[in-house]
Every structure is written in C-alpha cells, then in structure tokens.
C-alpha cells in the first residue's frame, strides 16, 4: 500500500490519476480505516488530503459558507454562527458516532462514502449544499444529492475528488432540521433519516426541501413531500400530506436494521416531526 500526503489538490489529482489499483482519499478516516481493518476495502493507494492548505477552515462565502473537506464534526458543532444558521445540518453531523469519531469525521467523507444511511447527507441535500469537484478534466460544482449513486458508489470519476463544501446563504425566515430514527439513543446508524429545510413568508411556507435517508439505495430529495407543505402553514392536513408523500417515496429493503414496512411508516413520522422543528426555527428567525 502506498500512502501520500499531497500539499495541493492539483497534486492529489495527479497522484490519483496515475494510481494503480484501489484508490482512497483519506480525511478523517472514520470509514476508510474501518473498512480497511474489516477487510471490506483494502486500498492500494491512500491519498491523505489533510495536509492541503485550507482544508480545515470554515469560512464565509458570500452570505453562505465554505467548509473545508477535513473540517470535523466537532469543529462544526463548536462554530456558533454556522450552528445558529444551519442547526439541522450541524446537528446531523453531530449525531455521527462518538466524541472520538466527532474529532475525525467530516461532511465530505460522509458524503463520499456513499451510504444511504449517512446522517449528514439528507441534511446537506435539504439545505441545498453543493460541492466543488476537481479532477483530471478540471473543476465542476455538483449538488450534494448528485454525488451518491448507489450504496458505496459515487458519481465521481477516477481521479476526481471533492475540494470544498458550499452551504448556501441562510437568508431570512428560514429553518432546517434533521431527525433520524435509531432504536438506541446514540452510537447507532440511521434506520430512517429525514432532513427538512424551509422558508416562510409570514406563516406560510414558500420554499421547502425534504430529503430522506436509509429508505432507498441513495439519499432521496423528495419533491412531492416538499410540495405537500409549500403554500401551507403546516397545518394537520399538510403534515399528513407530507407524511404520505415521504412514505410513498420510500423504496427500502428489509435488513438487520429494520423492515420495509417499518422504514416506510417511520419516514412519514420523522418528516412530520422534522418539519415542525424546521418551521419553529424559521418562525424564530423571522
């Protein structure tokens, strides 16, 4: 196994382009190293991107944010302004693993691991996060929901890597929330996850994005669920329509973590609960 510590993204791309065999980019390593030890993925080339300038920065980008690819969950939680503007996104990241894991795990890693159950991804998708991708053919911007394509697989081409996460401007009267269902209180993996981001005009919802995790091969952006609450004041009828649309979008599997029926039902329950939190937050920000 080769281990590299490039000092720029260009160098990282050059290394990845020429790499033979299985290549993995290493930031926090909370997936890569676990998979290595468990004989799930044994990389031939490991490219550690933590030595690249700026990867650990959380910086203003217009009225939004630019989050470096090696920024950890703990650093996000401790960033008061970010946490105030995007509590759903920050809380979603904070739900992952233990205190020790929070000192290593990153948004970018969570996204590029390609797991449909990744906690931060529905929150990113709901928030309308985009990422910068650099590769042998130059740079592009990709919506978070377009990165995962199936469990463990992403749309990134060989030699491509994510170089930054862009969180949009919060703007006025907006709020986001993420909830996941786990049978325990922590140290578990989402059986269902739901991220909701919305904006109010007065009491009325004028914009919304609803995202579901762990109910399909990839994290879903559910437009029908968003449409169920747009134009409403989140009354009971709207909540029921939201739950129905969320459940209808589910295409889950039966596995050790939950059944198809359970996931489908709970997706609706979580959507309602997350929507109420996001709505309250938006009202508070009005």
């Amino acid at each position: 196994m080769q281990y590299h510590t490039p000092s720029s993204f260009d160098d990282a791309v050059a290394l990845a382009k020429d790499a033979q065999g299985v290549t993995r980019f290493l930031a926090g390593g909370t997936d890569v190293l676990v998979q290595l030890r468990a004989d799930i993925v044994t990389p031939d080339v490991l490219i550690d991107i933590k030595k690249i300038d700026g990867v650990s920065d959380i910086a203003r980008e217009g009225d939004g944010w630019r989050i470096g690819v090696a920024v950890t969950g703990a650093e996000m939680s401790e960033h008061d302004t970010l946490a105030k503007e995007w509590p759903g996104l920050v809380e979603a990241m904070d739900l992952i693993g233990s205190t020790q894991v929070q000192g290593r795990a990153t948004l970018t890693g969570n996204l590029c691991n390609g797991s449909p159950a990744a906690d931060s991804v529905p929150a990113m998708v709901a928030a309308g996060v985009t990422v910068s991708v650099t590769g042998p053919n130059g740079e592009r911007k990709v919506a978070a929901e377009d990165i995962p394509v199936s469990p463990g697989k992403t749309s990134l081409e060989a030699g491509e890597l994510v170089t930054a996460v862009h969180v949009p401007a919060r703007g006025k009267s907006g709020g986001d929330a993420y909830l996941r269902f786990i049978p325990r209180t922590e140290m578990d993996i989402a059986v269902v996850g739901c991220g909701i981001n919305l904006r109010l005009d007065g009491k009325k919802i004028v914009e919304a994005r609803v995202s579901l995790g762990a109910v399909a091969p990839t994290v879903l952006l559910v437009e029908d669920a968003a449409n169920a609450i747009i134009g409403t004041e989140l009354d009971d009828a709207a909540l029921d329509a939201l739950a129905a649309a969320a459940s209808a979008a589910c295409n889950p599997i039966n596995d050790k973590r939950g059944t198809i029926e359970f996931r489908t039902h709970v997706a609706g329950v979580l959507a309602k609960r997350a929507a109420k939190i996001a709505y309250e937050r938006a009202e508070a920000a009005s």
Binding site: M187, V266, V269
Partner: protein
Amino acid sequence: MAFDETKTEDFKVVGQRVKRPDGVDKVTGKAKFGADAVAPGMLFAAVVRSPHAHAGIVKIDTSKAEALGGVKGVVTRADFATGLTGGDLDVLENVMAGEKALYDGHAVAAVAATSQLIARDAAKLIEVEYEVLPHVTDVDMAMASDAPVIREGAADQSVPEGMHANVVRYHESGHGDIEAGFAEADLVVEDSFKTEATHQGYIEPHACLAQLGGDNKGELWCCTQGHWNVQKLCAAMLGLETSQLRVTASEIGGGFGGKTAVFIEPVALALSRKTNRPVKLVMSRSEVFRATGPTASTSMDIKIGMKKDGTITAGQGTFRLQGGAFPGAPMEFTAMCAFAPYNLQNVKQVGYDVMANRPKQAAYRAPGSPMAAFAVESVIDELCKKLGLDPIEVRLKNASKQGTKASFGPTWDRIGLVETLEAAQSHPHYSAPLKEGQGRGISCGFWFNHGGETSVTLALSEDGTAQLSVGTPDIGGSRASMAQMAAEELGIPYENIRTTIADTATLGYNEVSHGSRVTYASGLATIKAARSAVKILCARAAAKWGIDEDAVVWENGCAKPSGPNAGEFDPLPIDKLTRSMGRTGGPIVGHFEATPEGAGVSFATHIVDAEVDKETGQTKVVRYTVVQDAGKAINPAYVEGQFQGGAAQGIGWALNEEYIYGEDGRLQNSVFLDYRIPVASDLPMIDTVIVEVPNPGHPYGVRGVGETSICPPLAAIANAVSNAAGVRLKELPMSPPRILAALENQAKNG
C-alpha cells in the same frame, strides 16, 4: 469465638463500602488483561473460520499459507488429540471443526506468524473446499420433520421416541394434577413466546498467550472465568498430563458465563507446540459474536389457571431451547426456574434441548432462567389484568416460602421472596404516578446459586499482614469481598490483606467463577482458612504463655486468655506472633478445601416503568428498581453493582439485542454497531434495594447475587411495554419494528 460459628451481627469490615484493590490499576491502564501478555519470540495467530452455516470439509490446502514469509506453522484438527468422547469431544469439535463445519464462524484451521498482519494474510491463503449442506438456525424449524440433521446419534436416552434427531435431551418435572388444577381455575390463560439468542457482550474479547513445548510441558495465560477448567480441557484437547500445563488467569474484562468455556486456548497451545514458540491469539469482536457462546434462543408455551382471588391453581410450561450445534442448551434450568417463585399444588414443566447450525451456547448469567420468567410472568400479568388484581398482591398470595415444596421438587429452606415483594410493594416507585404513554411492569425471578469445588490459602507475613490466595477469577469485585471477610476474621484492617487470584500450580482445584458462587464459596473458604490461621495463632500464644490452647481466644487481632481462670497475660497482637513464627513452629498458613453445598437460592422482584412511542415503536425505560435478597451484603456497593448490571443487560436483551441470521445461515450483525447493547444514555439510574434474609449455609449468611438480577428484567420490561403499548408483546427483543407491527396488527384486528 468457636471456629465453626455463624456470625450475623457486629461486623467491623463486612458491610463496608471499601475501595476495590484492583480499581487503581484498572483506571490507570496498568492492569494486565488477556491481550496484554508478551513473551520473547512470540508469534501471532489468526483463525480460519467457516463462512457456511453447515458444510462438509472436503479438503484444506495450507501450502500457500505455509509458503508465505513469516509464517511459522498451521494447525488443523489433525493437530489435536484423538479418541475423545462425550463432552470433551463436543468441546474439541467446537474448538476446531472435524469433518463438518457446523455454523458460520466455526474454526477450521489456524496459522501462527511473526506478525499479526502476516498471520491475517496467511489465513486468507488457506484454501478450504466445502460441500455446502442444508442448514437450520431457528429452534422450531430445527425440530420440524424436514429439518436437516446436525449430527446423527447425538440424542441421549431421555428423548421420547419420534422426535427429530436434532432434539438431543428431554426434561420433565412437576407435581400434582394439572388438569384438575386447570378445572378449578376461574380463568385460564395460555400463550406462546419466543426469545432470540443474545451475547453476554463482555467488553474484553477472548485472548491468550500459550507456550507448549515438544515435551508437552506448558504455560498458558488467558482471560477466563476458571483456569482449572481451562487446564483440564486444554490438557484433554492436546493429550497432555493436566499437571504439566500451568494456567494463569489474566484480569478479566467481563465474562457473565461466556468465559467458562475454551475457544482459542487449545488452538494457541497447538500452534505453540507445532512452532516451538510462544503464540498469542486474540479474537476480534466479530469472532467473539460468531464463534463464542451466546445464550440459547427459545420457543415456549405457557398455560396458567387462576381463581378470582388470585390463587394460581395450576401452571404448565413447555420450553424448547436451541443451543447451537451441540447438546447443552440449559432447558432444564429454564423448566425448573419457570414456576420456582410460586407455591403451586399442580405444576408441570417440560424441556427440549435442540441443536441448530449456530455456535455452541455458553452460560449467560442464570442460564435459561430469564426466558422462563419472561414467559411465565407475562401470563401472570395477563391474568392479573383480566381479573382486575394487583400484580404484587397476586405474587404475594402465591409466593414460595420456607417449607413450600418447590415446583421442581425440593422443599425450600429459608428464602427471601416474600421480603422482596413486600419491599417492592412499599417502595415509592410502586405507587408513583405514571405519565401518558407509560406503563409499569413487575416480575419476580429466581436462581439456584451454586457452591462447587473450592480451595483457598491464607499466608501470614512477618509483619502481621496477610496474603490471601483464591482460585476464582474476580469478575465482580470479589478480591475486595474476600479481603473484607478475612479482615473480619483476623481482626486486622482491610488494607492489610492482599488478595491474589492464584494460578493452577498454587492451589487445589477451583471450579470456575460461575453460579454466583464466588462470594459464597470462596468467601466461605476464606473465612474458614482465616479461622484455621487464627487457631494456629492461638496455639502459638498458648505455648508462649504455657496454658492450654482452648484457654486462648482471638479478639480484635490479638490472642487473649479466655478468662480470669486461664491466667493473667497481656494480649498478644498478630504482628508479635508472626514476627516470631519462624522460631515458634514455622510459617503460619491457613487453608480450606471443600465443595460447599449450602449455597442459598436468591429471589428478586423488579419494578420497571417504560414509555412507548406508538408512532415509531421505540421504548424508553424511564424508571427501574431492583429488589433482591443478598442474604448478607459483604460489600453493598458491589452487590448494588451486580443488581444494576443484571438489569442493564436485561434491558438490552428485552429491547434490542438479538442474533440475526440471514437466509444463508450467516450471522448478519457481528459488530456492536448492529448488535445493539444499551449505551449509557439508554439507561435510567437503576435504583436498588438490598434485602438480607441470611443463608443458613454460609457463616455470614451470604447468598450469591450475580445472576438472579438478570432473571426478572425481560418479564418486567415486557409487562411494562405491554401495559404502555396496550398490546401484549410475546417475542424478544421488543424492537421498534416488532412493537409497531404488534400495534398495527391490533389496530387491524381490534
């Protein structure tokens, strides 16, 4: 004091919450656990395990592994003893597969190399050709006529004719006329229950360091609940003389019954003998789940009749336990514990030991009893509800007492069930109001407790301090309790005694730390060993004073004349006697060897409040109270710890822990991410009440406490959840999907 006296009051050290002597080492990382031992020239081992639930082993090709640089040796079944029979053969089959792999994770070969990484790579190079066979993992399916046969001829003579070959043992017990009893009842409730296998979940994986030469003399360091048992079994597996293998027990990071067996120790010894090098073998967590000994899974039918006043007229239970691919599921314990708390005129219990393609079950804290309580106490709860009776009143009305004939035969001596029920009834928890969505459950539980072969020595040092050597690995703070009992007898400070878990060369045979026996049996032996040392001390004083030995008493750490008639002498403190012991007759050592048989049984009553989220099926345990009879709490803090630990494991078992097998017969959740033991934030503070009804079989009245604490939780939580959800849960674990399905089913069917 006479040397065989029972002491029940005026304790000085016993009953105090002293600090445990191993505490500082454990919190500073100094304590040496199984994987912490090293030896010069040590090799590292890795085990090749079957990916199939049931498969013939056609061929094992080790040539590629042996050709890898750094590999020093490979072992297969051919490297172990031949000609074993009975239980020894079962252990060997489990340790290293012979002609068939019997479960996912079954060891088929092992390799030793100069590094852990090389050993792991080499294990992947060992090519095993399998002939995959049909498999079965569910207990009811394993008994069905079309089930694949795990092993022909494994059944013993107890099994009735016509049963499937996977049913290997049968048990029946009880008394009275159950049909007449059911006819007397105003209400009869009959129901079926299932529980999934769970793992003890000890934090420390199995680990050992083995050294065995071509001369068949060896040393073994390992993490175990009983090193004499390891010595005996390893000697049999490798064809050694027992005394030529010295076994030392490491510190132990939890066992709960699961470390009363051997898994990797014979393999490491075989590799060491083959390579002529020390070999270290450490299991991964996944190996622990797949290939050690979880508890049995069960399928149970219960029928209970009750009068309107709460009198139970008859009880009947059928208990089918799946214990893996070998005989041994503890179905007789399940059957015997099921109705033990109750004074029944008519009772019958039947048990079946069933084999399936799963790892060989091992003991797990009161093996078999928690499942029985779950089934029986659920039905009693249902009867109470239907008849509008208070669940504690009903249990008090039917409770076993001294003189009651137990459901499985014997007549009870002094027992403390009624006292636990009364303490539960008067506890503020029982009358506290419940919030919306919450339910309360109660349950009783019973465990036998055990004595077992025990050997202890207590050597006095010249300064009047004492070295206590016991042979039962300390799995619950027993070094502290032993030192407290020795200090009490010798009349010296607790801190002046050092308790060591001695190796197999140092003491006579000690049965494993199981059956809640340590504080009872090693404690009894410690008291008796101390008394034998005191007898010598008194004799030395008598010789010095020139009076009769019987005229000397031992008080507060000093020899004294027994009275004015014995003579006028100043008390002789222990250190004065020990400083001169070389000149007065030699070293002073007390000892005791016996198989104590007076282990008093222990009963408990638990109260649980649970809150169920009816939209998601999620359960939160919001309040928990354990009331249990400890006989006499030597160290109340560790007794409370045992009470809390049993409840915590019970919460996991009741709500989320389970062995999940796929259709391919492979274990789906062999890591802690998916095998969901409770985390700290899942648990409420677990309140405890220590009831002390002395055990007549122990000098201080001690009853074992380690196991009874896990007997009531499954039932108490199931009753609480069922009351909160408004629907009876009959299958464990009560995971959210299962609770939601039960609620939906009820909504559909009314």
